[in-house]
Amino acid sequence: MTTSQRRDHAIFDADLPGKAMSFADLGRILTWAKPHRGLATVSLALVLIASFLAILLPVIIARVVIDGILIEHPNSTLPDLGLIALTQSLSEISERSPLIIACLLYGVLTIVCHSAYHLHRVTLAKTVMYALRDLRQDLFHHIEYRPSTFFDKVAVGRIMTRVTNDVQALFEMLMGVGMLVGEFVPFFIALGLMLAIDVELTLYLLTALPVFAGLTYIFRMATRKIYREIRNSVSQLNQNLQENLSGIQVVQLSNRESLNFALYKNVNQENQRQEIKAVKLETSYGAFMDNMVNMALAAILWVGGGEVVQQTISLGSLILFTQFVDMFIRPIRVLGQQYNTIFRAMASAERIFQALDWDEQLKEPQAPAVLPQRLSGEITFRNLTFGYEPGLPVLEDINLTIRAGEKIAIVGPTGSGKSTIIRLLARAYDFSDDSIFIDGIDLNTIPSTDVRRRVGVVMQDFHIFEGTVLENIRLGNPEISRSAAIEAARWVNAETFILSLPQGFDTPLNERGQNLSQGQRQLLAFARVLARNPEILILDEATASIDTETEQEIQSALATLTQDRTSILIAHRLQTIQEADRIVVLKHGKIREVGTHGELMALGGIYFTLTQLQFQDLRSIQ
C-alpha cells in the first residue's frame, strides 16, 4: 500500500471560505513574476513619471494661469513646482506670451502623462499575464502527471476550475493590486503639495479620510456576507434549473411541474431578497462615496476663503485644492473595490497551491532496468495481490505465466478483477514489487512511461480527442508518420469507413464522437494501438451491440492486431474467446480455471456450467 491510498481527496471538493490577505501565498505567486521583473521595473518607473506629471497639470491651471497670468498674484512663497519660473523663462526664450507657453506646456505634459500611464498599464498587464500563463502551464503540467488514484477520486470539473477560473481570479487581483500604485503615488504627491500650501486646510480635509475608510470597511464587511448569500442562491437557482432541464421528462411524467415550480420560486424569492439587500447597500455606499467628496468644496471655500482674504494663500492655490479633491478620495474607493477581489483571489491562490503541492505520484524505479530493443513479451504474475482500498483486495494471489506471443482470453463476471489486471499492466496503479514480470524483468523496475510504450491498451471506451481522424490515431506521437497511421488504419479494416467520411483522414471528430458508430470507434482504437506497434497488447472488448458486418471486420482486425504479439483480451464475445490460445476464468479476484476451450469444457467447472446455462434453451427447442 502506498501513501497515496490514504489521502483525503475530499479537500478538492471543499469550498474554501477564503482567508484574509496571505502574504505567504502572494509572495509565492510573485515567484512566477520573477522572470518578468525587467518588465515590472519599467512599469513601475512609468507610473512614477505619470503620477508626477498628473499632479503638474492642475498646478499649471491654478498657479501658472490663474495666479500668475490672470490675476497676476503669483505669490512666489507658495509652491508651484517651479512651473511659474519655467513658463516665464520659456516665454522669454521663445518670445511668446506666457499664456501660449502655459497652454503648450499643458498640452505636451498631458500627452506624455497619459502615454506613460498607458504604457505602465500595458507593461503591467504583460507582466501579470505572462506570470500567470507560466503558472497555469506549470499547474496543468503537474496535474497531467498525477496517477490514476488521483483521477479516480477527484471530479474533472474541480480540477478544471483550478486551471481556468482560479488562475483568472489571480489576474484580476494582481492587476488591481498593481494599479493601486498608480492611485497612491499621486495621492502622496498631492498631499505633500497641499501641506506645503496650507497645513491647516489640509489637516481639516484629512480628517475625512478615516471616516471614508471606516465606511468602506463597514460596507465591505456587510456586503461580503450578502454577496456570499447571493452567490449561494444563484448557484442554487442554476442547479435547480439545470436538474429540472436534465430530468424534464421524469418531471413531466411524474406530474411534478407545479411542485417543482413552487420549489424554484422559493429559491428565486430568497435570491430576490438578498439582491434587494445588496442593492440598498451598494446604492447608499456608492452615492455617498461619489458625492460626499464635494462637501470638501464647502470646507475649502470657507477655511481657504478666509486665508485668501488675509492673503496667506493665493486664490489659485484655493482653486488647486478644489482640483485635488477627487485625487484625495480615490485611493480609498479603489482599495474598497479591490477588497472583494483580493478575498476571492486569495481563496483561488490557496486552491491552486493545494493542487500544485499535491505530490501523489506513481512509484518510479530508483535504478531503472535497461530494456532490450524489442521484448519477447512473456508475462509472469507471481503471487499478485492488489486492492484499491486497504484491506479490500480486488485481485488475490494471481499466479500465471503468459508465453511470448500467446493470446489469452480473460472471462469473468463484472467485478471479478478483469479490468484491474489491465490497469496494473499499463502501470496505472502501484503494486508490490516482484509480482508482475515482463521477460523476467520486474515491472516495478521499469519507468512507467517505458511500460506504457511497450504495452498497448485498447480500452472499452475509446476516447476521442478534438481533432481529425488522423490526429486521433497519431495522438501527437512524432514517431508515427501520416503514412504509418494510414497503414495502421488499413491493417485493422478502418480505412474503408474513414475514406467514406467527408474529408477522409482529415475529418474532424468531436469529443462525443457522434459521427462515428461504436464499431467504427473500436476500429479506430485498434489503429491507434497498432500504429504504436507495442510488444504486448491488452484489449477490453466493447460490450455494446455492433452490427454483424462491422463485427466481422472487428474480428478479423483483432486477428491482425494479436498476430506475433502477446495479447490479453478481456473477452465478451464467444468468437473472441474461442480463438484464444488459453482462457483464464476469473471470479472474485482469483484465477479459478485456466485452459483451452476444450480443456475447460472437459473440466466441467465454472466455465462449463456457465456455458451450459447459455445452451439450455437451445436444447429445449430442439
Partner: protein
C-alpha cells in the same frame, strides 16, 4: 428585435412598478440639478474672493457673503446624496423584480415544453439564457435605461448652466465633443469584440482541459503527456495574448480620452483667459468651466458605450422571449372527467414522423392489449420502440392514428391525469441530486417509507439500500453517492413501480441489469401488478419471453406478433435474435 419591440416586451415588467420607476427617474433629474448647482455656488464664492483681492474693503462682510454659499454647497451635496440613493434604489429594485418575474416565467414555461423543443435547445443554451440573458434584461431595465436617462439629464442640465454663464465659451468647449464620441464608440466596439474573443479563448481553454482530463487515462496509457502539454501551451499563449490585446485597447481609450479632453481644457485656458481679460466672464466662471467640463465629458464619453449596452440588452431580451414565445407542443384539455381506468389499450394505425425527416419513425401500427396483460415490444435500435412509448404518455402526439385507453382517445384526458395513469419508465435512468428515497417517491413526496421499501424490493434495490449507512436517506449525485449504471436503472424502475398505475410502460429498463436479477424483477412485477397492464420494451429476448404477447418492430412497422413459443417456431426475426443473443452473451458468465 429593435429598441421599440424590446421596450414593448419589457413594458409589462416595468408597468407593475411604474410609479417607483418613473419617480426614480424624476429623482435622478433633481439630483443632477443639485449637482450642477455646486460649481455655480463655487463660482459665486470665487468671484467674491477675487473681488476681495482687488479691493480689500469688500472683505468686511466675509461671513455674510461666503457663509450662505458654503452652507449652500453642503446643502446641495446632502440633497443630491439623499435623492440619488432613494431614486437609484427605486429603479434598481424594479430590475430585481423583473429578473425574478422573468425567471419564474421562464422556468414555468420550460416545464411544459416537449421533446421536440428540447432537441432544438441544448440545456447549456437554455441555462445561458436563464442566467446571462436575464441578467442582461435586468441591466437593461435598471442599469442601461437609467444610465441613458442620467446621461441626458447631465448633459442637458450641465449645458443649461454653462450657456447661462457664457454661451461663447460653451460652444468653444464643445468643439472636440464629436471626436470624443467617435473614439468612444469606436473603441467600445473594438473592446466588445476583443472581450468576446477572450471569453471564447477562456471557453476554449476550459474545454481543452476538460477533454484532456476526461481522456487522461488514454493520454497516460499512450504516454502522450508532452504532446498534450504542448497543445495546452498554444491555447494558453493565445489566451494570454488575447487578454493583453484586450487590456491594451481598454488602456488606450483610457489614455486617448483625457488627451482629447485636454483640447477642451486648452480652449478654456486660452479662449477663457481672453474672455476674462476682456471682462466678458469672471474668474469664477473661468474656474467653474473646468468643473462643468468634467461634468459634461462623462455623457459625451459614455454615449459610445451606451449603444453597445443597449445592443447587449436587446439581444438578451430577444433570446429570453424567443423561449417564452415558443408554443407548447402538446395541447391540454380542460375536461374534468376522471374515470377509473383499467389499462385496456387499442392502438389504431398509429404513425409518427419527426420534423425534417422523410421517413416515418412509426408507420400504421395497430395492436390491442387487454387490461392486466403484459405486452413486450422488441426490435433493433431505431425500430421505433421509444417513439411508440412516448406517444402513450403524450410526450409526442401522433401524426396519424390514435391510441385509446379504456376505449377513449388519450387526448381526451387531461394531461396530468393521463400521466398519472400511464407511467413511463425511461431508458435513461435520470436521478435527481436528492436522497434515494425522494427519488423513488418522486411523483409524491408524501409516500411512506414502507411504500418506498416495497417497490425497492421489487426493483431488486434492497441490497443496495442496505449497503448504505444512511439507507434511503442517502444523497445521490456529485455531492453524495454515485450509483452504478445498474443501480441507477433499478432506482428509476422503483420510481415507476411505486406508482401502481393502471398502465406501466418500461422502456428498455434492464439493459444494465444482469439476466438473473432481471428474472427476479420481472417475476416480482408479475405478482405485484396482477390485473394491471404492463408494456415492456427491450432488445433482449430474455426480457420479452415471459410476456403474454410480443410484438416485433422493425423500421417503424410490426413485423411479427405472438407469444415467445409461437415466435420461435415462426423462425423469423425473433428466433434469429434469440439464437444470436444466446451465443453472444457469454459475457454474462
Amino acid at each position: 428585435m429593435n429598441v421599440l419591440i424590446t421596450l414593448r416586451r419589457l413594458a409589462p415588467l416595468v408597468q407593475t412598478h411604474a410609479l417607483a420607476f418613473w419617480g426614480g427617474m424624476l429623482g435622478l433629474l433633481a439630483a443632477r440639478l443639485f449637482e450642477a448647482y455646486i460649481p455655480y455656488l463655487l463660482k459665486e464664492g470665487i468671484d467674491y474672493l477675487a473681488a476681495t483681492q482687488a479691493d480689500s474693503k469688500v472683505a468686511i462682510d466675509f461671513s455674510a457673503k461666503l457663509g450662505p454659499i458654503a452652507l449652500g454647497i453642503a446643502g446641495c451635496v446632502t440633497a443630491q446624496i439623499i435623492v440619488t440613493i432613494i431614486s437609484r434604489i427605486l429603479i434598481r429594485r424594479v430590475g430585481v423584480y423583473a429578473a425574478f418575474e422573468l425567471r419564474n416565467q421562464l422556468f414555468n414555461h420550460l416545464q411544459h415544453q416537449g421533446p421536440i423543443f428540447y432537441s432544438g435547445y441544448p440545456i447549456g443554451d437554455l441555462m445561458a439564457r436563464a442566467i446571462n440573458d436575464i441578467t442582461r434584461v435586468r441591466e437593461l431595465i435598471a442599469g442601461t435605461s437609467r444610465t441613458t436617462m442620467v446621461l441626458v439629464f447631465t448633459a442637458v442640465v450641465g449645458l443649461v448652466f454653462m450657456l447661462n454663464l457664457s454661451w461663447q465659451l460653451t460652444l468653444a468647449v464643445l468643439i472636440p465633443a464629436p471626436l470624443i464620441t467617435f473614439f468612444a464608440h469606436y473603441y467600445a466596439k473594438r473592446i466588445f469584440l476583443k472581450s468576446q474573443k477572450t471569453q471564447e479563448g477562456f471557453a476554449e481553454l476550459s474545454t481543452f482541459v476538460q477533454q484532456n482530463l476526461n481522456g487522461i487515462r488514454t493520454v497516460q496509457a499512450m504516454s502522450q503527456e508532452p504532446y498534450e502539454l504542448n497543445r495546452f501551451r498554444e491555447a494558453n499563449q493565445r489566451f494570454a495574448d488575447d487578454n493583453i490585446a484586450l487590456f491594451s485597447d481598454s488602456s488606450a481609450i483610457g489614455a486617448i480620452m483625457p488627451v482629447i479632453a485636454a483640447v477642451s481644457t486648452l480652449i478654456i485656458i486660452g479662449y477663457g483667459s481672453h474672455l476674462y481679460a476682456t471682462d466678458q466672464i469672471t474668474l469664477g466662471t473661468f474656474t467653474a468651466f473646468f468643473s462643468y467640463l468634467a461634468l459634461l465629458l462623462w455623457p459625451i464619453r459614455e454615449a459610445g458605450s451606451i449603444v453597445t449596452q443597449w445592443q447587449r440588452g436587446i439581444s438578451g431580451t430577444a433570446r429570453v422571449f424567443e423561449i417564452l414565445d415558443h408554443p407548447p407542443e402538446i395541447s391540454d384539455t380542460t375536461e374534468s372527467d376522471h374515470p377509473e381506468l383499467t389499462g385496456r389499450i387499442q392502438v389504431r394505425d398509429l404513425s409518427y414522423r419527426y420534423q425534417n425527416k422523410n421517413k416515418d419513425a412509426l408507420s400504421a401500427v395497430s395492436f390491442n392489449v387487454d387490461a392486466g396483460e403484459t405486452l413486450a415490444i422488441i426490435g433493433r435500435v431505431g425500430s421505433g420502440k421509444s417513439t411508440l412509448l412516448r406517444l402513450f404518455v403524450r410526450l409526442l402526439d401522433p401524426s396519424e392514428g390514435e391510441i385509446l385507453l379504456d376505449g377513449r382517445p388519450i387526448q381526451s384526458f387531461p394531461l396530468a391525469y393521463l400521466r398519472q395513469n400511464v407511467c413511463l419508465v425511461l431508458q435513461d435512468p435520470f436521478l435527481f441530486a436528492d436522497s434515494l428515497g425522494d427519488n423513488i417517491a418522486y411523483d409524491d413526496p408524501a409516500r411512506t417509507t414502507e411504500d418506498i421499501m416495497r417497490s425497492a424490493e421489487i426493483a431488486a434495490l434492497t441490497g443496495t439500500i442496505e449497503s448504505f449507512p444512511e439507507g434511503i436517506a442517502t444523497i445521490l449525485g456529485e455531492r453524495g453517492v454515485t450509483l452504478s449504471g445498474g443501480q441507477k436503472q433499478r432506482a428509476a424502475l422503483a420510481r415507476g413501480i411505486i406508482r401502481m398505475s393502471p398502465l406501466l410502460v418500461l422502456d428498455d429498463c434492464f439493459s444494465a441489469v444482469d439476466t438473473e436479477t432481471e428474472e427476479h424483477i420481472l417475476s416480482g412485477l408479475k405478482n405485484l401488478r396482477q390485473g394491471l397492464t404492463t408494456l415492456i420494451v427491450s432488445n433482449r429476448v430474455s426480457t420479452a419471453r415471459h410476456a403474454d404477447q410480443i410484438i416485433v418492430l422493425d423500421e417503424g412497422s410490426i413485423i411479427e406478433t405472438g407469444s415467445h413459443d409461437t415466435l420461435l417456431a415462426a423462425n423469423g426475426f425473433y428466433s434469429d435474435l434469440e439464437r444470436k443473443q444466446r451465443f453472444d452473451k457469454v459475457s454474462a458468465l
